[in-house]
């Protein structure tokens, strides 16, 4: 931890602790019996008490999110590479992809449920993959094509081949775009998995669990599941950021990445 990193993250950490303490103390001090938003310590208690069910849910929902993420990002990248290769394909397909990315994919959740059945991970995996596919494809195409014209001329003057231009210029140029999409995709994946479960899934899956516990007014356990779902999303997001720093050290050195 360098001094600048501490300065960067300290305010956020302070806010976290202050909010948590204020929340706990104010509910305690004023004796508010809040069932909607219970005290953090109560949530933590039910997190421990319910851990056996919750951990199964995290594993199940997490598998859906990560599986869908891998499939969607993989296919999106391949589609992006193929689309960027031909100018005509790019001109014709990119606007369609941009349009398609605005489709409420989540509306397809009941259909995938009917295809694969509620107990399988496939319904949510499909939804997550679909949700993730378009942003990744679009950003891959943009990254591969938004290249400095002078850099392209430079490579032309070296008589570089197509594949050399891809390897030495276009692909590295696309990396920041691709990672931007990956970050978006990580948060989308958990949302897609949890919301997809709303339409049906095993009882212990996080989405169903949250709905059930809320339905029975057991808010501490519902919140425990919510906290876990958030933690999963944040973990995936931070993993994407870490991967980005690993793959593009030149970039994180140049910019103060948030």
């Amino acid at each position: 931890m360098t001094a600048s990193a501490i300065r960067e993250w300290l305010p956020a950490a302070v806010v976290f602790v202050v909010v948590l303490v204020a929340w706990e103390v104010s509910l305690l001090a004023f004796g508010i019996k809040s069932f909607l938003i219970p005290r953090p310590s109560v949530i933590a208690e039910s997190l421990v008490a319910d851990w056996s069910t919750l951990s199964r849910g995290v594993l199940f929902t997490g598998t859906e999110a990560v599986g869908g993420l891998v499939v969607g990002v993989g296919l999106g990248t391949i589609a992006g590479l193929a689309t960027a290769r031909w100018a005509t394909a790019r001109e014709m397909l990119l606007p369609v992809a941009v349009g398609a990315s605005t489709i409420p994919i989540i509306a397809f959740a009941p259909i995938t449920l009917n295809w694969f059945g509620p107990e399988s991970i496939l319904p949510r995996l499909t939804i997550v993959a679909l949700m993730v596919f378009f942003p990744v494809m679009i950003n891959t195409v943009r990254g591969l094509t938004n290249v400095e014209p002078a850099a392209l001329e430079l490579l032309t003057s070296y008589a570089a081949s197509q594949s050399q231009t891809l390897a030495k210029l276009r692909a590295p140029n696309a990396l920041p775009y691709w990672f931007t999409a990956l970050r978006i995709a990580t948060t989308l994946s958990v949302i897609g998995a949890v919301v997809g479960e709303f339409f049906g899934g095993p009882l212990y899956s996080l989405g169903i669990y949250i709905t059930l516990e809320t339905g029975h007014s057991r808010y501490p356990t519902a919140w425990a599941a919510i906290v876990l779902a958030c933690a999963m999303g944040i973990a995936l997001y931070l993993a994407a950021v870490a991967l980005e720093r690993l793959v593009m050290p030149w970039r994180s050195a140049r910019e103060i990445v948030r």
Binding site: W9, M92, N114, E148, G207, T211, C230, I234
Partner: protein, 316 residues
Amino acid sequence: MTTATRSVRGASPRPAAIVEAPGGHSKRRQLAGLVIVLGALVVLWEGTKWIAGDPWRIHATIAGIGIDYEHFPPLKWRIADDLSLPHVWDIVRAFVDPAQRGGAPLGAVLLGQAAFTFAEALAGFVIGGLLGLGLGVFFVHSRLAERALVPYVVASQTVPILAIAPIVVVAIKADWVSVMAVSAYLTFFPVTIASLRGLRAVDPRAIELFRSYAATRRQVLWQLRLPTSVPYLFTAFRVAAAASIIGAIIGEQTAGVAAGLGSAIINYNQYYISAPERLWATIVMSTFVGLFFVGAITLAETILTRDRYRPVEGLL
């Protein structure tokens, strides 16, 4: 989320790239692309059913010519049976067929539900958009607030909306206000990030110029930062518009608001075994609402910013 900047460095005083304005030629290509993609989708769809679907039969009289055709797919493996993938023509027909015995066609009913959902989404969009813009303005003026709070703005998007929705519904009571809240929750994030980025995209030399005029912070905001951020904002508005529709649909389902598309999806999902094409028709309608909203934003952008701004890309 960080911006995707140009990676090849070079402070060229010349315009780096001549961006071709989308003229008639490219518009035609885009339309062709859409037709080709939709056509390919239909061919793929019906092609799969042709090989591995249920047998079907056309028995009709069109323009005085009697057609009687029966198709038996070659594979026993029914991956694309009528329950999984209803025929394209069945989905189209579902729009025309009455929703209830002797009632209005399903298409008209869905259109009314779509209008309701759109109104909710629009309200959520406006609230979320204003909130996002306000946060952006706040953060751009306070580095401390940005450091302290932006991580939570990002983290807020990892909260599965559904997780919050039931509690929102209990807190605000189950009606369209809670739907709007869920919609606004999804809307504010892209607008916050894009406005922060746009407000900061001002040329530092322009800031110095304003300083030489002894301009106030408010003047810098109104005359410089906000105008600069317009193209960034519209990019975010498009994303936010799509998100607001998703928020409205999910919010309706949780809140049990019966008048919109969200509950229509739940409803037809329950009758999927008997009439799968109705659920499909509802999903198609949801797609149209999303496209309509995004299209309206794009149109507004074109009218308001015509020829005044260069396009901004990279933020989704």
